[in-house]
Amino acid sequence: MTTGVAETVDRTESSGRLSGGLLRLATCGSVDDGKSTLVGRLLYDTKSVLADQAAAIEEVSRRRGQDGPDLALLTDGLRAEREQGITIDVAYRYFATPRRRFILADTPGHVQYTRNMVTGASTADLAVILVDARKGVVAQTMRHCAIAALLRVPHVVLAVNKMDAVDYRESVFTAIVAEFTERAGELGVADVTAIPMSALAGDNVVEPSGRMDWYGGDTLLSHLENVPLGDDPTGKALRLPVQYVIRQPSSDRQTVERWLAGQLASGVLKVGDPVVVQPAGATSTVVGLSVLGRETDTVWAPQSVAVRLADDIDISRGDTLTADLAPPAQRRITATVCHLDDRPLRPRQRVLLKHTTRTIPAVVEHIDYRVDVTDARRLPCDDGLSANDIGGVRIRTAEPLVVDDYAENRRTGSFLLIDPQDGSTLTAGMADAWAGD
């Protein structure tokens, strides 16, 4: 062990204005890649593990006859997980440096838990994919890479872990990176940064390694602190899904002002801007904007805002404000989906589809293919999608929806399929580009 819990902890400046903002990341690895140790190391070395937690894991480690604290214990959660020595569910961890706040989705790596990685990756700005330096790139590695690509996670870090077990040799690292980079490129991963590390010994996670002089890059934490946040939603076209209508009676109670409340999914909105209310297509002009009760003249994604329009149009939850008529409202969606439920998704199945703030009946018209996520091959699919399957589907909805290409806008291109009988979340969907009727 190279470090312990420091005597004093300086987790952040007290102003609450961390200049680097908030970064969401997901960690994914196979069972024995040392993911729990890596996450434990990040928490431990950023001093996010406090004295009582550290004492608890040191005590358990001692009872089990281990030399140092077993950092993997920091991320053990539920009783069944401790009993079986596995991770069942996505766990969320929090840490901060003086520069940036982090939300880490710690996703289990078992084959049967693809849905957990899809869940963790759905909100991630960055995915950390772990590889055991002794084993190199395995099928599960490419599976994680494919899911990161599918979910359009903007940045990928290849963490080549257990370098201590290969004597910190550069040639091992270079060979793994070459193979991963080529195959990641084929899967459409845009941005990969590879880092050689040993989570167990503490090399290049938080502290730079003194044993890999040949590596000139950042430590993992330094990379996390400096990587640009995901794709900037303010640079995209305006999308404001209406969540709720706030009604404010005038002082004489003769009229009611209607504020359309919602979180800006993308874009910037100013007082005076023309807007289109989709799917009806009515147009109006913004005459008032407020951010959680404070009136202002400009709002930007992802603020939660309220908007007042010049015209008294019929607008309710589920409508979307856009800048123009693109994308057109449509009743047919082609999409890539990840099936989550233990019961299969079948052709002609009736479902509820939840997209932004609208939930409507829909039918799965056709399942076109199933994807082998290790090499992105499309396989025939006649009998439906099972849990953890990824596939291509065509869906028809009862009412028109304003759906974006998921590749362009994760927030307005994503949807859930829900069981109309018991309300279970069945399937996660990512819409393809609209191809016309």
């Binding site: 903002g21 406090l50 004295a51 069942i88 849905r115 869940t119 703030t357 979340t425």
Partner: protein
């Protein structure tokens, strides 16, 4: 679909793609957490007929209420408050609760553990702790109020079982939480569907940490009950914590009362909420203190979580918050 196009991949030496331009968000991490919490409140208001916000006068529920009031401003809150009163609450906190209800014209329902004990439905535990007794009055209040959604101030950083909690957490008619049957939660798409008898616990502050809560209190100038700041109080020591004497049953024989300068990091039932030695009498001083603290909030001040390694998990399964 999984795209087949090949795009530029950064060199393994840490080189970066020159096309990337840093996306400088004008929003701070607190702005983003607040926007997310407001979105969660509005989702519930849009999808549920009846909901209630669990309000104890503790700082998390105070921050939660503050965001809720902002999310629906200038209109009034579209739901009521619910407090499960153990009968062992700090008088300062109850006074604060009533002041806030009055100030914002809110509706408050109180579910009383004492009333359940008085009519024989619940029995006092030998250790005098009433936190585990809250579950039944809470579930009855949820049923009687026909609440489809109940907001709680729980945060995932508090405890390891909570690290796996969803923002929308489905509970059966016994309020029970089954970690293996939780719905996957993706993007910002929360699934609030529930069957008759079931309800959904909603945690708008899921992604906040203790430090975020305090920084937000500072930024927004939120008033808190005075017990959160350093004050002189008669206390006695039990299990390494400073507990306040009171009708709930402390001190026992052999426990000596002394006066110390303390404050509370969490505020719950007096029988199991411990004070910490502190001279922090302002928000800034509290932030400085917890930034340098080496003990987690629950480890410092909650005896009920120390009962076993899985104490919180067990109480959640039984329908606790």
């Amino acid at each position: 679909m999984i795209a087949a196009t090949r795009t530029a991949v950064a060199a393994p030496d840490g080189g970066t793609d020159p096309r990337r331009s840093p996306a400088v968000s004008p929003l701070t991490h607190l702005d983003m957490l607040e926007a997310e919490a407001a979105h969660i409140f509005r989702e519930v208001a849009g999808e549920f007929d009846r909901s209630a916000l669990l309000f104890s006068g503790g700082k998390d529920s105070i921050v939660m209420l503050h965001v809720a009031l902002k999310a629906f401003a200038p209109a009034p809150l579209p739901f009521s408050l619910l407090h499960v009163d153990t009968g062992h609450n700090f008088p300062e906190v109850l006074a604060y609760r009533d002041r806030i209800v009055e100030k914002h014209g809110l509706r408050l329902d109180v579910a009383s553990v004492q009333a359940y004990i008085d009519n024989g439905t619940l029995r006092e535990r030998p250790d005098g702790t009433r936190n585990p007794l809250q579950t039944l009055p809470l579930l009855d209040a949820v049923r009687d109020g026909r609440f489809g959604a109940v907001f709680g101030g729980g945060r995932r950083d508090e405890e390891k079982a909570r690290a796996k909690e969803r923002v929308f957490s489905l509970r059966d008619e016994f309020g029970a939480w089954d970690p293996r049957r939780q719905r996957p939660e993706l993007w910002q798409l929360y699934n609030g569907h529930h069957q008759p008898g079931e309800h959904v616990r909603v945690f708008p502050l899921s992604n906040w940490t203790e430090l975020d809560v305090w920084q937000y209190i500072e930024q927004e100038g939120i008033e808190l009950p005075e017990v959160y700041y350093a004050h002189r109080r008669k206390v006695f020591q039990r299990d390494g914590m400073w507990l306040a004497p009171g009708e709930w049953g402390g001190p026992r024989d052999g426990e000596t009362v002394c006066e110390r300068q303390v404050r509370y990091r969490t505020v719950g039932d007096m029988s199991c909420t411990g004070a910490v030695d502190s001279s922090a009498s302002t928000v800034a001083a509290v932030i400085a203190e917890i930034s340098a603290s080496r003990v987690t909030e629950r480890g410092a001040s909650r005896a009920d979580d120390r009962l076993s390694e899985a104490a919180m998990e067990d109480r959640k399964r039984e329908g606790y918050f």
